[in-house]
Symmetry: C2
Subunit: 165 residues, 2 copies
């Protein structure tokens, strides 16, 4: 697609975010970063993105300061991708996306008896937070690092199957 009017200098905050996050590939990479993935091949396997698209988006994310490349070995030098503070702050966006999808993007019963594809527990107090942005037990605001995610069996199986290929 031709790169139409660039929005990175608009005064609208949603426009600015959209320039980064309004991209399927970027969202899938961010998701996997929040799942703890750091290496090129692992992103490829989990996201299903081709190497070229993945490479391009990782560069974009690095340039935006969302991700940083860190060498994890010499000879040959290999790099891992880590979220920066700016990147970690995007957790709230992905969490909002998850909350919306859990409520609106599944047909009833699709996720099994429990009803959620992904479950989050507040690390501090151990409460299952459901789809809330503040802990229903202790009232604390929930951000990156406060939550421990747990995939449903169906989601876990799907991801393992993807990597196995």
């Amino acid at each position: 697609m031709p790169r139409r009017a660039d929005l990175s200098d608009t005064f609208c905050p949603v426009g600015r975010s959209a320039e980064l996050v309004g991209d399927r590939a970027v969202l899938l990479i961010l998701r996997d970063l929040f799942f703890g993935i750091r290496r090129f091949e692992a992103f490829q396997a989990n996201s299903g993105l081709g190497p070229q698209l993945l490479s391009d988006r990782l560069k974009r994310l690095e340039q935006e300061g969302v991700v940083e490349r860190r060498p994890y070995q010499q000879r040959p030098t290999r790099y891992e991708y880590w979220l920066t503070e700016k990147g970690k702050a995007l957790f709230d966006v992905l969490y909002a996306m998850r909350n919306w999808a859990e409520r609106w993007a599944y047909v009833p019963g699709e996720t099994g008896d429990d009803g959620l594809a992904m479950r989050y527990v507040h690390r501090n107090c151990g409460a299952d937070v459901g789809l809330a942005t503040a802990c229903p037990e202790c009232g604390e605001t929930l951000g990156y690092g406060d939550l421990k995610g747990e995939m449903s069996p169906a989601l876990l199986a799907e991801r393992q199957a993807r990597v196995a290929r």
Copy 2:
């Protein structure tokens, strides 16, 4: 771009949302819907999207049940686009995007003295909520309908200039 592996049936909630929201045009349309825009030409003027792309995305949004078309006149019949409940629930995603951008996507001082491109007030108690997801005064969780947005002069001017063209 070829529509590669479709994610609308993945078990991952972020993947499902990404299929809809991982698209710049969709995000711009949603933003304008939350600003109260309802007509084709107004979307075009405010978003800067071409008529074909706009038309395509409005159809997609309607098909996903995020938006519904309502006639507002006969002879000739003309339609407006309104957010459904499912659509209104996406507010949290856009609000998270706004929060992130306000904090991370502007250079210091860019938005003027006040520091925010967009200000939100809690309708119930009148408090300026800043970048919070729960009201700092009364503690209530903030969703669509609870907040009244107010654009900074710079943002307002930018939008008016766009429509004037």
